[in-house]
């Protein structure tokens, strides 16, 4: 699992243990659509604006999921399609142009305007990539315009980020043929995590290192055959393929959650860059030790507990691996909206065969399984949490895992605490359901 994968030789399924059955039931999904990724993307890339072309539902989703809570005017909005557009009384492309012109006049600091496709725009076959290139002709270089789809008929939750990053790949500058070997870390991370990782990379002598998404649209990492990349989030599979198509080589590893995951992740990079073992140990030892200590504090809470994970962000296999190997919990089910074996294979390979893996969802039957299995902790989305709590079960809302910096050594304890908190809380409360 520490090999550099080359697009031509990358195998699809070797990393997953052969013979692991994946439960697939078709029924109601209870997951967000890809639009929801905008909640962190618009904060990460600070000169980008995300314009959803969709319906009142899309606008309401963003508002309900992000909360009316954001004090600043956010860098996203919805162009709501109305009946005039649908009846052909208004030319939709003209309408879109008008909206964009107004928006850019109001927000002149925007350097990248991202048109985000939704279910309605897809169903009526509104060609947003084409609209983007038309608008780009008009507004670049002051503001570049691009498009991707975050629609719920094509994407769940974090796949929205994947589509965005994959759409950015063609925009990335070509790396000079004689450029030194560089590393790109793919998948949005908290700024604090990026800074910590940079310190480790500096210590290891790995560099230059760049992050995708970058903090600004004008500093996209250059890409070419001398670029190696590693995924920091499991949901960026389509972006990985796009990078490979541009000649970059993927470093495969488990994800940097927990001490073990972080070490495996750094080690894959170190091996790829030929860092001597002694140096690797010297640089990572303090972090590993701190992570182990931080995690140990919560182990008594989680040890021996059974955990059931509902599908949400695709982080589920990595979380389960951390819980199972570092916290000694027993995992009953790993639900995931989409199982990219190529990406999470190394994670699944570390898990016992008894763990049930389910892909996609029939939420009613999954809830039935919870009632049968009676887990000590349920990791699930916001629509399901309180109803489970009302039944006297402990839940952890999964959306926090994508909104909280959890990667790397210094956050391993935070990750453990986040998961242990509902159980500690239930201990504290002498009243309640």
């Amino acid at each position: 699992m520490t090999t550099v994968f080359d697009a031509s030789t990358a195998c699809t399924d070797t990393a997953a243990k052969p013979g692991r059955d994946v439960l697939k039931q078709r029924g109601q999904h209870e997951v967000f659509c890809g639009l929801t990724s905008i909640m962190w993307l618009h904060r990460k890339m600070q000169d980008a604006f995300f314009l959803i072309v969709g319906s009142r539902t899309c606008a309401h989703l963003m508002q309900s999921a992000a909360g009316v809570m954001i004090f600043a005017e956010p860098r996203f909005a919805t162009a709501i399609i109305d009946e005039r557009d649908l009846a052909g009384m208004a030319d939709m492309n003209d309408e879109l142009d008008k909206v964009v012109t107004r928006l850019l006049a109001r927000r002149p600091e925007i350097k990248l305007l991202v048109l985000v496709g939704s279910c309605p725009s897809e169903v009526i076959k509104l060609d947003l990539p084409r609209a983007a290139s038309r608008l780009n002709g008009e507004h670049s270089p002051q503001c570049r315009v691009m498009a991707y789809s975050g629609s719920g008929i094509e994407t769940t939750f974090t796949q929205g980020e994947d589509n965005f990053l994959a759409a950015l790949v063609p925009e990335m500058p070509a790396e000079a043929a004689d450029a030194p070997v560089s590393l790109v870390v793919v998948g949005a991370l908290g700024d604090v995590v990026e800074d910590q990782m940079m310190r480790v990379f500096d210590g290891l002598g790995v560099g230059p290192v760049r992050f995708l998404p970058s903090r600004s649209s004008t500093t996209l990492p250059p890409i070419g055959p001398n670029t190696r990349f590693i995924l920091a989030q499991p949901w960026v599979g389509a972006c990985a393929q796009a990078l490979e198509r541009r000649g970059a080589k993927r470093i495969s590893a488990p994800f940097p959650l927990g001490e073990e995951g972080s070490t495996a992740w750094y080690r894959a990079i170190a091996d790829s860059f030929g860092v001597p073992e002694a140096k690797f140990d010297a640089i990572t030892a303090p972090g590993r030790e701190r992570a182990r200590r931080a995690v140990a504090r919560y182990k008594p809470v989680l040890e021996g507990k059974s955990v059931f994970l509902f599908p949400d962000s695709q982080l589920e296999p990595s979380l389960a691996r951390f819980l199972s190997r570092e916290m000694d919990t027993s995992i009953i089910e790993i639900g995931t909206p989409y199982l990219n074996r190529d990406v999470v294979g190394p994670e699944l390979a570390m898990m016992p065969d008894t763990v049930r893996v389910s892909e996609g969802q029939d939420v009613e039957r999954q809830i039935d399984r919870v009632h049968t299995d009676n887990p000590d902790l349920i990791i699930c989305g916001m629509g399901l949490g309180n109803p489970f709590e009302a039944e006297g079960r402990s839940t952890k809302w999964s959306i926090e895992f994508v909104f909280t910096p959890l990667q790397g050594y210094e956050q391993a304890g935070d990750l453990a605490e986040l998961i242990a908190r509902p159980l500690m809380r239930r201990e504290l409360l002498k009243v309640g359901s």
Binding site: H29, R56, A79, G383
Partner: protein, 533 residues
């Protein structure tokens, strides 16, 4: 195509969900993509319901579009009926399913389900949440009350239905208790409350009552009008929010029910608003400028209370409920303000800035605007937020509602003597601009964010003040504005922050109108004399 950042209302199918979730034994099968399941969290997180809403989404995907999304719908409907065994099945489409034209109503008919099916047409590209709720309630009422026919003999005791309270409605949970108490104290029997807490069988009993109380016209008006036509049930339309309106409501109910108002209700010792408002401590409330915005029902009621019961001056009144724009226009005329009919929160914010209020009464959206503008604010209307479902009993209607309103509108303001002390002792080191009022731990102008559960979701979003709002406020002050001499600027600083903005604007207006530039201490006091307080 319309550019939107935040919306006051969701799509119409969310209104339908609210009605379904209000009722017992109703299930809603919604043809919709997976992302639309976000709406569940409105109920489980914001309203903190202990159960998931009774909604099954078909969650069709792109790959189903070429094949058979209709089959997916049929399977979902069949499974939902088998699993939840409802007394009635609502079927409908969200915005995306509307485009693929599968006709849920027609499909459901072919299934031969053993429950009544009520098909909904929710034109998502045209209508909004409240309309969707009203339409859904109306369809249900027609379906279940329609066949009953007018009851033959009226029962001895006068009886009524209370129509309109709905899941996710602003304080509806507690308002019902107040209104039922009021109505029963008149000796009137409550036949049904709907949709909140009603079953389809309860809807079938609606025609048995003598009259209907329309508690929330945004949702119940369509049904109540139909019931009037169909069964001759009178409509009581006064909304009992505030002392005066509660009195009017009692009088209207008594008249329609043909009963006398009992003496103790007339004396109405139950509410404290009128006494508190008359007490000397409330003197300082006189003429406070208040900006009101919300749904039509709550906005109109709030304006009346502000003006007639607290002695405020209404300096702005508006609504996002276009269906009831006429009522709001009439009310605005009464207070001599331009009505604001808009569902664009940026327009509302601009109107707030222009009106220079000292208190904002609005929705969560206005609360955020007010926070940015450092204005005290109380929330009076949907759209709701987790804070609008307080743990304590907290109605808006009836006597207790008036008490709650007095507290929640007056507490964000400075208290009377405190305001004077701040005026007198500007030099006191504790009276710096960032010190809030002493009785509020969190409500001070520069006080941080009050955390609650939903914050954690918003943690990504750093809370920086909106640059354009700041710009808007200061450009208002910059464009062709006279400049201030440093003496005048210093004198202005001696005015407490909560009236300083007003003093600055008044002075600048005065200076501009009189061609005075720069502004001196003289100008400042001339303007003060000119404008009064």
């Amino acid at each position: 195509m319309e550019l939107t950042v935040w919306t006051y209302e969701g799509p119409p199918h969310v209104g339908a969900m609210r009605v379904a979730n209000s009722m017992r034994d109703v299930h809603f099968v919604l043809h919709a993509p997976q992302g639309d399941t976000y709406a569940d969290l409105l109920f489980t997180m914001i309203e903190r319901n202990k159960k998931r809403p009774p909604v099954t989404y078909t969650t069709f995907q792109a790959r189903d579009l070429s094949g058979d999304t209709a089959e997916i719908f049929k399977t979902a409907a069949r499974d939902a009926v088998a699993r939840f065994k409802p007394q009635a099945l609502l079927v409908g489409a969200s915005c995306t399913a509307e485009l693929i034209q599968d006709d849920p109503g027609g499909l459901a008919k072919t299934l031969g389900l053993n429950v009544p099916v009520v098909p909904l047409e929710m034109p998502s590209y045209q209508k909004k949440e409240n309309w969707g709720a009203a339409e859904t309630f109306y369809r249900l009422v027609r379906a279940f009350a329609g066949g009953a026919g007018k009851p033959e003999t009226a029962p001895e005791q006068a009886s009524c239905n209370i129509l309109g309270p709905t899941s996710l409605g602003f304080r509806n949970r507690d308002d019902i208790v107040e209104v039922v108490r009021l109505v029963e104290s008149l000796g009137v029997r409550v036949n049904t409350v709907a949709p909140l807490g009603a079953s389809p069988a309860d809807l079938a009993r609606i025609p048995q009552a003598h009259f209907n109380i329309v508690l929330y016209p945004e949702i119940a008006d369509t049904s109540a009008r139909w019931l009037k036509r169909q069964f001759g049930q009178e409509m009581v339309t006064t909304i009992p929010i505030g002392v005066g309106a509660t009195r009017d409501f009692v009088a209207e109910v008594a008249k329609v029910a043909g009963v006398e108002v009992p003496q103790e209700l007339l004396e109405s010792g139950a509410e404290r608003l009128s006494w508190y408002s008359a007490s000397i401590d409330s003197n300082y409330l006189t003429g406070k400028r208040v900006f009101v915005f919300g749904d039509a029902t709550h906005a109109i009621s709030a304006a009346r209370i502000a003006s007639e019961e607290l002695g405020f001056k209404v300096c702005g009144l508006g609504t996002y409920s276009r269906e009831f724009a006429r009522d709001v226009r009439e009310a605005a005329a009464k207070y001599g303000v331009e009505p604001l009919i808009s569902d664009n929160h940026l327009d509302v914010e601009d109107a707030i800035i222009a009106a220079q209020p000292e208190l904002v009464l609005g929705t969560q959206m206005e609360r955020h605007a007010a926070k940015r503008l450092r204005l005290p604010c109380a929330v009076i209307s949907s759209p709701v937020h987790v804070q609008d479902f307080p743990a304590r009993y907290s109605p808006q209607m009836g006597h207790e509602g008036a008490n709650v309103i007095f507290d929640s509108w007056v507490h964000p303001l400075m208290m009377g003597l405190e305001e004077h002390l701040l005026q007198m002792f500007r030099g006191d080191f504790e009276f710096h601009d960032d010190a809030g009022s002493s009785h509020l731990s969190h409500g001070g102008p520069a006080a941080g964010h009050q955390p609650d559960a939903r914050d954690e979701q918003a943690a990504v979003a750093a809370e920086t003040p909106a640059p354009d709002v700041a710009a808007a406020t200061s450009t208002a002050a910059n464009d062709d504005q006279p400049s201030w001499t440093s003496d005048a600027e210093r004198e202005l600083r001696k005015i407490p922050f909560f009236v300083r903005g007003k003093a600055r604007r008044n002075t600048e207006t005065y200076a501009t109108e009189n061609g005075l530039n720069p502004i001196t201490i003289e100008t400042l006091y001339d303007a003060k004399a000119h404008f009064g307080r």
